[in-house]
Structures are given as C-alpha cells and as structure tokens.
Amino acid sequence: MYILNPTSISNTFKTKSKIVKDYLVKNNIPLLSNQEGFFYFSKTKKLQEALDNLPIHLREEVKNE
C-alpha cells in the first residue's frame, strides 16, 4: 500500500535520508510514501524497534534532520 497524498494522514515518520529508507525497507518495513524528497513510514511498533536498533552512522543521519 503506497499513498500518493501522505499529508492527509497523521501518525507518520518521515526522513530525507535515502540510506535510512533503504535500511528500513531492507528490514521489511514497507514504505508508505515518497513525496517532495521525503520518505514516509507509518509509525508502528515494528518501525520503532528498527529505529531503536539503527546503526550509529544512520542514527546520526536521523538526528541531523
């Protein structure tokens, strides 16, 4: 399921980093949307677990946004 108007829904996590997006997709977290340079993911338990276990260099990328 891929949404073309992600701003119409709440409870999402968005990132500009393609590396972070690739890491999350590789960890079986489906991409919700990709609009205007942002990658959107639904805020779920699975996403939270993946973010908690992010590698250090990716954690820095998320922090810098």
Partner: protein
C-alpha cells in the same frame, strides 16, 4: 507482372497478438489490518472498485540484482487493468475477502518485468492509492486507486501478489467449475446395473432409458438436457430396471441439486424483471383511466347501455372460451404424447451422433494402429535379415576358431615331444633303457602345463642312477672351493666393480 500475396488467418493473428500479452491475477487488497496499521473496511474497498478500471500496472526493474524494486519515483507502466469484467472478489484460504483483478502485462514493451514474472511465476504487489477520507484508529474510510505496483520488497498487505495465469491454471479453474457436472461413480454403477438387469427383466427398459444409461456410462460430464430428462423420466418410472437405467435414486437427487438452484435463480431474475415497470408507462396509464372516467361521468345513460352490451358480449365469449378450452385439453393430450416421442427422437439422435463420433474415433485409432503395425513389420524384417547375416558370420568364425584350436594343440604336442626327447637324451647315459621306456609312457599322463613336474621326476630318477656310477677314464676329479676367474661373467653392478 505477377503479384505476391500472403494470407494470414484470423486465428494466426490472434495467436501472434496474444503472445505479446501476459495475463496475471492480481490479489490487490484484503479487508482488515495491514503492516501500516491502517485498516481498510470492506465497504471502502467495494466503493473504490470502479476506480481500478483502466489503471496501470507499474514496476521498476533492477538490472544488477535482476529483481523488481520497490515504489520508485521513476517506475514505468508495464501493463493495465482493462475493464470491470476483469475485477472480482475472492475469498482466500484464511477466509479473508480480497479484491482481485486479471491484469495484462505488455511483454514487448516490458521485457524485463515479463522475464521476472515468467521466471518467478509469482511477484509481490502493492497498490498506489489516494486517500479521500481517513477515520478513527488510523483507518482508511475512503480511497481511490491510482495504480498497481509490482514490487520486489515486502508488501504492506500480507499475501498481496501477482500470479501468472498459465494454461494449466485456467484448466484447473474450468475443472473446478465443471465439478458439479461430473457424473458421480455411484450413478454410473447404477446405470451399469440397470443395463445388466435389462437382460433378465426387460420391463421398463425403453429406448429412452437405455440411451440415458449409455450416456451416463460413457460420458464423464453431463449436459443440462440430460439432467432434465433424468428428472422427467424418473417421475414416470415404475420398475426397478428403469430406475437403475436412469442412475438410481442418487441420480435423481444429484440432478435436482444441480437443476433446482438454477431454476430458482431464473425465477428470481424473471420476478425482478416483472417488478420493474417503467414509471412513464404507469403515468400514461393513469392519465388514460382519468380521461375515461371523465367521459363516463359526462354521459351516465351511455354507460348503462354499454354495460348491458358488455354483459351480452361476455356471455358469448364465455361460451366460445369453454369450447376452446375443451379443444385445448384434447390438443394438450396429443401434445404430451408428441413431446415424449420428440424427446425420444432427440435422445436417439444424440445416440446416433455419439455413435458416429465414436465410430470415427475408432476408425482413426484403427488407422493409427495399422500404421504402427506396418512400421513394426518393416522393422522386424530388417532385424531378421540382420540376424541371418550375423548367423552366417558366426558359422565362419566358429570354423576358423576350430582350425586355430587344432593348430595350437598340434604345436603344443610337438613341443611336448621335443621336451620329452631332450630330457631323455640328457639322462640317456646314466639310465637303463627299460626305465626310460617307463618314463616315456609316464609322460603321457602330463600335459604341456605340468610337464616340468615330469622333467624333474626324470632328472631325480637319473640322479639316483648316476650317484654311484664311477668313471673308468682313470682320472680323479676333485672340486675346488673357489670359482675360476676366467669363468667370471662381467657384472654391471657397482659393488662387483669395487
């Protein structure tokens, strides 16, 4: 100047055209929760169904991994969902309702995607949607489709997939649909039993019943006409033979189970059609009635006269109708009889057609068998010819072999005789002639292989005779304890040289 013409039949054109398309079954969206934790109610899916028509199937191929990618900004259309007839609902093994569609992939313009689908036969899928209304608990209450994406990553809706529809899958589906029309084995057995009973008790074994029995035995699937006939003639059967010829009680139950729902459906549709009366016609009818009432009210006397006339006319028409009904009753009786004969004729015609079809099949099979048999005969004649030549060659080889064996035995015998004579000449001086003759006789017990034993035996015998023999030449011979240097042979050994 001669013109060149090329004729291509419509069938060839369709075949070529279809080879450029690949049909895929798309399991798009199911009711309930998904990995985004944004549940979609079934009503929202039903409402979004019409927006799926004409929408593209998109994908992005990664030539390095030779897999499809996820949702990308530069994904390209690779196919389409054509029309409403291709969209339908399905229930999966877990009992979940799915919105499915049969999509088409353009093999010529999406070679890479067609290659991946052909290789894997199944591919993950994701829908691209525009949300119109979202409800509480993050649920999606209203949405419309903008495309279907074939992806190589994990889909948000578990088990959302695209399956390549092959000929075998279509066949399986048709077989599933035809399952109800498959003649049960018990019905076939009953029909066979009826044929057997007919020989002892032919009462009730009419041509129609026998033909129905034959059709039940010989065919795998049943036609609707035959089911109608089974129900029709089962009601009239009185004997056991006739009952079994029609497939027994199980046959009647099975036929009714198939026919009755169809009749119910037909009646429902008919009722719906009858219930729908155009509102315009009703309005017109009401206007007409109103006009007539106005005219009636204007002239009451005219109405009374008209009523009297109507009563007379009704009495006359009643009489005519009574006579007509009597005639109709008589005609109906004749019609029923003719219907039965017509049904019998139809079934007999079907039998004839079946027989002709079987006869043609049999003749084709016979021709095939005859061709195979003639080919085998040719092969057999070739094999026998080869066998005869090989037998002649074998006889020649055998005779040559026997000659060689004889030659070998002769040579061996000569060699043996020469060895015997040589050994005997060696011991001739020291052995008496009688003893030599005995040993010569004894040599016949030995062969060329174990002749050495005989030679040793002869030498041992000769030694025993020569042991005590003295030389009369007057010279005393004494053996020296060292070897004569002149007799030394030249050795190549390094130790000897040192």
């Amino acid at each position: 100047m001669n013109k060149l013409s090329f004729a291509i039949s419509k069938f060839d054109l369709m075949e070529v055209s279809n080879s450029e398309l690949m049909k895929v079954r798309l399991w798009i969206v199911s009711e309930g929760d998904n990995q985004h934790e944004k549940p979609i109610p079934w009503t929202a899916i039903e409402n979004a169904r019409p927006t799926l028509i004409g929408k593209p199937v998109v994908a992005m191929y990664n030539r390095y991994s030779q897999q499809l990618m996820g949702h990308e900004l530069d994904e390209v259309p690779v196919g389409v969902i054509l029309c409403d007839n291709d969209i339908f609902y399905e229930i999966d093994e877990e009992g979940k309702r799915w919105l499915c569609a049969d999509g088409i992939i353009w093999c010529r313009y999406a070679k890479d995607v067609a290659f991946v689908l052909d290789r894997d036969q199944i591919q993950n899928l994701s829908m691209e949607i525009v949300i119109i209304e979202s409800g509480e608990n993050n649920s999606i209450e209203s949405f419309c489709f903008s495309g279907i994406t074939l992806i190589g990553t994990t889909p948000a809706i578990p088990n959302a997939r695209a399956e390549v529809l092959s000929f075998s899958k279509v066949k399986e589906e048709i077989e599933h649909l035809m399952y109800d029309f498959k003649i049960p084995s018990i019905v076939k057995q009953n029909a066979e039993k009826g044929i057997f009973l007919k020989q002892n008790n032919p009462k009730g074994a009419t041509a129609v019943n026998i033909s129905i029995a034959n059709q039940l035995i010989n065919n795998e699937f049943v036609s609707l006409d035959l089911l109608h006939n089974i129900i029709k003639f089962s009601a009239k059967t009185k004997t056991e033979t006739a009952q079994y010829l029609l497939g027994g009680f199980e046959s009647l139950e099975w036929a009714e189970n198939i026919i009755n729902p169809q009749i119910e459906k037909f009646e429902e549709v008919k009722k719906e059609e009858e219930d729908i009366v155009p509102t315009e016609e009703i309005e017109k009818f009401e206007e007409m009635v109103a006009e007539q009432q106005e005219e009636m009210g204007a002239d009451a006397n005219v109405e009374a006269v008209a009523q009297a006339e109507l009563a007379d006319k009704q009495a006359e028409t009643d009489k005519v109708l009574a006579e007509e009904s009597k005639e109709q009753m008589a005609e109906e009786v004749v019609l029923e009889e003719t219907e039965e004969t017509m049904a019998e004729e139809v079934i007999l015609k079907e039998d004839e057609d079946n027989f002709q079809a079987k006869y043609t099949d049999m003749s084709e099979k016979y021709e095939e068998m005859y061709n195979k048999y003639s080919a085998l005969e040719v092969q057999m004649s070739e094999i026998t010819a080869k066998m005869s030549t090989s037998e002649d060659q074998m006889a020649i080889y055998m005779s040559e072999n026997e000659q060689l064996k004889k030659f070998k035995s002769d040579i061996e015998e000569k060699e043996m005789l020469s060895v015997i004579e040589y050994t005997l000449t060696e011991v001739m001086e020291s052995m008496p002639k009688e003893q030599m003759e005995e040993l010569r006789e004894d040599a016949k017990n030995f062969s060329s292989e174990n002749l050495n034993i005989w030679v040793n035996k002869v030498k041992a015998e000769a030694f025993s005779f020569s042991k005590w023999k003295t030389n009369n030449d007057g010279i005393m011979k004494v053996g020296l304890p060292f070897a004569n240097e002149n007799n030394k042979t030249e050795s190549k050994s390094l130790w000897d040289k040192i």
